[in-house]
């Protein structure tokens, strides 16, 4: 097939690819579109943008809450839940007084401690490994079993046994009064002038002094 004939086919196919006409109501639709708000695209953007931002914010919150199930969050939840527990040691009811009173200020425990609920102390109660206690809903749980709970039970127990925060009074320290040091100048007396000393030379052929430890006669042998 010659190039000219191929070109004719190409041009014909290209013409067919762009053949066609708009629908009969095209003019009416354009005229109708003139009456609409001109910036409908921007208007839709103004609507979609806040919705998208809101959806993104919700997604971020959900993701953040998903990550917040880590240990610190569980510790915080355990601290809140801990005062609700009552622990029975040796058959005697022990109330976690300070925490409970702090959370329930109107409760009788906070105002007047009942005989059944002794004065809250802050001492740490160490349970033996085989000790049992009344868990929630009246179930009896072994203490050793609680330690085996890896999902925050140990953290809750530690938080429940924690002493209340100490109140530290501000230290009042008076300022130390220091007397002023004497500032008199130190008077130094001047030394007397040293007189020159005259030393007489020693005699060269003078006999050695007697009476010493080595005063033995020296024998001269030939």
């Amino acid at each position: 097939m010659s190039d000219e004939r191929l070109d004719r086919v190409i041009d014909d196919v290209a013409r067919q690819m762009t053949a066609g006409q708009p629908s009969s109501d095209f003019r009416a639709r354009v005229i109708a579109g003139l009456d609409r708000r001109p910036h409908r695209v921007w208007r839709s953007l103004w609507i979609a943008a806040p919705l998208g931002t809101l959806a993104a914010a919700i997604l971020v919150i959900l993701v953040a809450r998903g990550f917040s199930t880590s240990a610190p969050h569980r510790m915080q939840r355990a601290t809140v839940d801990a005062p609700k527990r009552e622990e029975r040691v040796g058959g005697q009811l022990r109330d976690r007084g300070p925490e409970r009173a702090a959370l329930r200020p109107n409760s009788p425990t906070a105002t007047a401690p009942s005989p059944a609920a002794p004065t809250p102390d802050t001492t740490t109660v160490r349970l033996p490994a085989d000790a049992t206690y009344d868990g929630p809903r009246g179930t009896r749980v072994a203490a050793a079993g609680r330690r085996q709970d890896p999902s925050g039970g140990a953290a809750a127990e530690v938080a429940a046994l924690a002493p209340p925060p100490l109140e530290v009074l501000p230290l009042g320290v008076e300022a130390i009064g220091v007397a002023a040091l004497p500032t008199d100048s130190i008077a130094v007396t001047q030394l007397d002038a040293v007189a020159p000393m005259s030393i007489d030379p020693l005699p060269t052929h003078e006999a050695r002094p007697t009476g010493g430890a080595n005063d033995e006669p020296v024998e001269h042998r030939p």
Partner: protein
């Protein structure tokens, strides 16, 4: 008032003053050119109609920017081409093509219907197959070559108008059309259509 013998410039002036009938006449005069430009860029009748409608609406809002340096048709075609290219680049259209890829089939059926009938059934079948291969080769061209070829062969525009629409000099447009033909010929010959009679 009749608008039959009124020039485009006069219609534009009346449309600027808020005469919808004047703009309607402009739509009627140039709807085919705008539509075919959009069809050349998009390859889909539905998308081309949407793009053409958007082009007229944009032109109406920008009537104040028309200074008359070029003809109203050239100015309108430039807007239409930009609108069509925006449609082509939009993600929604890509999505629609993925979901409902029936534009290709629609075009092929049109081509089959309008194809010239050969003298024999074998010749007719061969001719249809050749036209399908030509269309595939044209669609596989680069956008610059394909746009120039389709706009040039649509019969609606001069080379100057195509150059204004595509933002390229006249010589570049002519070269693109010629190069598009050469590439299509080469592809057809690679597929064994050089010896087809």
């Amino acid at each position: 008032m009749s608008t039959v013998c009124v020039s485009d410039v006069d219609l534009v002036a009346r449309a600027r003053q808020g005469d919808p009938a004047a703009f309607g006449e402009l739509v009627e005069r140039h709807r085919m050119a705008v539509y075919r430009a959009a069809l050349a860029a998009l390859g889909s009748h539905a998308d081309a109609e949407d793009a053409a409608q958007d082009a007229f609406l944009v032109a109406f809002r920008r009537l104040d920017t028309f200074r008359g340096d070029a003809s109203f048709k050239t100015w309108l075609l430039t807007i239409a081409w930009h609108q069509a290219i925006n449609h082509r680049r939009s993600l929604s259209r890509v999505w629609r093509r993925m979901v409902a890829p029936k534009d290709q089939e629609e075009m092929e059926s049109v081509l089959e219907n309008v194809a010239a009938a050969g003298p024999t059934p074998e010749g007719t079948a061969a001719h249809h197959e050749l036209r399908r291969e030509v269309e595939r080769a044209i669609r596989s061209l680069s956008p610059k070559l394909r746009d120039a070829l389709l706009l040039a062969q649509s019969g609606e525009y001069s080379y100057d108008e195509i150059g204004t629409m595509l933002g390229a000099p006249l010589g570049t447009i002519k070269w693109r059309v010629s190069e598009a033909r050469r590439v299509v010929r080469a592809k057809l010959q690679q597929r064994g259509y050089a010896d087809v009679r």
